[in-house]
Amino acid sequence: MSEGKKTPFYEKHVALEGKIVDYSGWLLPVQYAKGLVEEVHDTRRRATIFDVSHMGEVSVKGSDAEAFLQKILVNDISGLEDNAIIYSPVCYPDGGVVDDILAYRINSESFFLVVNAANTDKDYAWFRENVFGDVKLQNLSPEYAQIALQGPNSEAILQGLTDVALARIKNYHFLPKVFLAGINCIVSRTGYTGEDGFEVYCGNAGASALWDALWEAGQKYELNPAGLGARDVLRLEAAMPLYGHELSSELTPLQAGLDRFVALDKEISFNGKEALKKQKADGLSRKLFGLEMLERGVPREGYPVKAGEREIGWVSSGSYSPTLDKFIAMAFLDPEIISPSTEVSIMIRNRSYRARITKLPFYRRKK
């Protein structure tokens, strides 16, 4: 295996005693000195800073940029305004998922896509395969660093670095060319934790100075670093899907419960439309549910789920939840079998542990 790539923040992680792991070819901290559980609490209660530079960025420009995106995205971007962001799965014609992405509309002829690290090359190849008319694609991933600032203190911290009134940036909106400590950034009110917060993109050259400025501004707001481990648990508590777990080429967005991001009534014939329409009409054999353990045991990806003696699906993500102090999981189960009162069991190392169906998300922040 080739040596993992370092983000511009690698030295910061080492200095903060980050435990470095190779994640999708990137050397990133799975956790820092305080540990994953405290990092989850820090994010929900105060604010944390994450290095998410592994995420990929793709620019889409040209007079056919919008039409191109309408074809490759299953969500409908026709109503999207400038400086607004939409979440959408990208599907193959059979309804399986290529990736799930964020599309930023700069203007009607310029969009900025944020894609999963492990999928960046595959996505870019897929976009190129589907391109038509006046569309210019550019993979910007190697040039961009990204920081996620998440938690209730995020706005106050970031506001310390700019005169732009950040309260004006609503959820799922962004502003390009915001100068933070003199560095040109895209500031987006988005995240993968279920908390209020921002994702900030900048060129690699200014990245280290941006981190230092955020760190400095964050000290009076008890800013702490958080790693990939906390990020995974936070997104699970908020029931946000992770590609490779809740989404894959073998699973559709309808199975993952993402119906509100699948615009089946969109007029254009987008990739996956016919297959997804048919699946919706025929009904689903597997659908994503939330589970909560009724006895102590850690549900993990791949563990079988049973109702009585019958196997009815598998765990796609599971963990101890520090916020709820419970063991939780998302699982693909046969919806025919499941009612809210169904008791199921999760098979952990050939032993059966009781669990119950629970509503998703497990955690929702108070507004």
């Binding site: 799975v30 956790q31 540990g35 994953l36 559980v37 850690v298 993990r300 063991f327 190392r349």
Partner: protein, 132 residues
């Protein structure tokens, strides 16, 4: 990193420890092992009466991110398990050599202690592990 490694225990290359008490041995995870695992949230204990075999899985320790086997340091029969860990597995993190003990066995073959490392040898072993 400075890991706590204490006298009076014998250690394995998989980072378990065993403390002899007459014909019995108390078994647990080293400070190094608990630190590498991170916050422990679940422990699966053997049943009393289980025969454990040196080098084979004998209990399961889970942190938020990882599942780890606790390999038996010695052959023997489990005579007692630390049931407090079922409700408070994090005690392994806070007190790995004391309240975080995992189980106690009746020793089958005392000479097996000779295959384990004492404090000085284990300290050296951990330094080498860290350099990998």
């Amino acid at each position: 990193m400075n890991y706590k490694i204490i006298d009076g225990l014998m250690y394995t290359k998989k980072h378990e420890w065993a403390r002899q008490e007459g014909g019995y041995a108390v078994v647990g995870l080293s400070d190094y092992a608990q630190d590498k695992l991170g916050e422990i949230v679940f422990v699966e204990l053997p049943d009393v009466g289980t025969e454990v075999e040196a080098g084979k899985g004998s209990a399961v320790i889970e942190s938020v991110k990882a599942v780890a086997d606790l390999y038996a340091p010695l052959d023997g029969t489990v005579v007692e398990v630390n049931e407090e860990l079922l409700d408070q597995p994090e005690v392994i993190n806070s007190d790995p050599y004391g309240a975080g003990w995992v189980y106690k066995i009746e020793i089958k073959d005392e000479s097996q202690f000779g295959l384990l490392m004492d404090r000085a040898a284990y300290e050296k072993f951990v330094v080498e592990e860290e350099e990998k």
